[in-house]
């Protein structure tokens, strides 16, 4: 018996439709979808890159202003600190004061200075709390001096220290008079001596690194 396979018009149409749909599916599944995914991924990358570019552009646009601010702040800091001494060892402070006092012809009977300066915590006049010291580059050494001389010289000396040395703060002074024998033995004739006890804050400026090196 001979088998015959004859496609009807309807079969042909169905096969035709199936092929049509299959081609469409293959195109969508294997070409369009990956390409659309790639487009989405590229869009995302572009968005991120645009954000990054915008950040960079903003920063680059800020560069002249940042440089100017930096220069201004450094200038301001230099101007602020110009009146203050650089951080120095206690023996350098001693040398500085000794020569200053010798020039004025007074007798220094006692001089003491704190061995290591401390971070300045200055309480404003008539206030109770010190100012904020975070970031400050000011350091203080406490100095105590006892001097003998005539009253006017001692007053001039105190006034000079108050007026002409902004890096110094006279925290206290006491002018007293004592009568004692010239040679201190008690047998020699007595004379009146004027004494000045000075308490000073000696302000210095420096970076934290310089301060660490000093310690």
């Amino acid at each position: 018996m001979k088998m015959t396979f004859k496609l009807t018009k309807r079969d042909v149409f169905l096969i035709y439709v199936i092929i049509f749909v299959l081609v469409g599916f293959i195109f969508i599944r294997y070409f369009m979808t990956p390409m659309l995914d790639e487009i989405s991924a590229l869009d995302l990358e572009i968005d991120n890159a645009e954000v990054e570019q915008f950040d960079m552009q903003s920063k680059i646009a800020m560069l002249p202003a940042s440089r100017k601010t930096n220069e201004d702040l450094k200038k301001q800091l230099t101007e602020q600190m110009i009146e203050f001494y650089p951080l120095m060892e206690s023996y350098d402070i001693d040398k500085l004061f000794s020569s200053f006092l010798l020039e004025r012809g007074v007798l220094v009977t006692e001089f003491s200075v704190s061995a290591i300066p401390v971070k300045a915590a200055i309480v404003p006049y008539m206030a109770t709390e010190p100012t904020e010291t975070t970031g400050s580059s000011l350091y203080t050494s406490y100095i105590s001096i006892n001097i003998e001389g005539d009253y006017e010289t001692l007053l001039d000396l105190t006034s000079t220290l108050i007026d002409d040395y902004p890096s110094l703060c006279v925290t206290s002074y006491t002018i007293g008079r004592e009568i004692r024998s010239v040679d201190g033995s008690g047998n020699a004739p007595e004379e009146e001596y004027t004494t000045l006890s000075l308490g000073l804050d000696f302000y210095m400026t420096g970076t934290p690194e310089e301060y660490e090196a000093l310690k």
């Binding site: 035709y16 092929i19 049509f20 081609v23 469409g24 195109f27 070409f31 369009m32 390409m35 659309l36 790639e38 487009i39 590229l42 990358e45 572009i46 890159a49 990054e52 570019q53 960079m56 920063k59 680059i60 800020m62 560069l63 940042s66 440089r67 601010t69 930096n70 702040l73 450094k74 301001q76 800091l77 602020q80 200055i122 404003p124 006049y125 008539m126 206030a127 010190p130 100012t131 904020e132 010291t133 975070t134 970031g135 400050s136 580059s137 000011l138 009253y151 007053l155 001039d156 105190t158 006034s159 108050i162 007026d163 902004p166 703060c169 206290s172 002074y173 006491t174 002018i175 302000y203």
Partner: protein, 192 residues
Amino acid sequence: MNKKNVNFYLKFKQSQKKDNAVSAKYIKRIIPVALLLLACILGFGYLQMNINQRTDELDILIDYIENQSNIDACNEVDALDAENAFLSVAVAANEGEIEAIKSYPKPNRTVIAELIALGSQHEVEIAVSGYSALSGGFSFEATSVEIMNINRFILTLQTTDLLYSVSYSGYTFNGESYNVHVSCILDGGAGK
């Protein structure tokens, strides 16, 4: 022989008609497939064009982002910003401390000269005893042959801008003159 059977032209015409019918039938079937393929090719082309456009766009952005001079500029801005933040805090802190230092009165020659001038108006001599920045206390000895002069002098002192307050505790007489120990609180603006 039949005349009709030997008409080749007619035969040719008939065969051509039959071929045309077959061609039309195939063309009818091919057009949708061709259209589908065309749509696929156009779609592919369109998408590929989009991808190329985006890739180019991304390349331009990446070129900008990876440009060494741009990176250096950004790093410089970051470093400057960090330094500026540190400097701003330092400047503000130093400013506060400098203001605090300046807030103190200056018990200098100017203050003493003004006190001496006030004293001389009432025939009172003064000798400075001491000063304490912590309390603002400024003390001196006032001496006069007349106790009333000292009283008037104290009253004058209470009206001066130099002093925030004035106090004294009695007097002593040494046979020649009266002596009073005067304690004052200096005004913040004294001596400036």
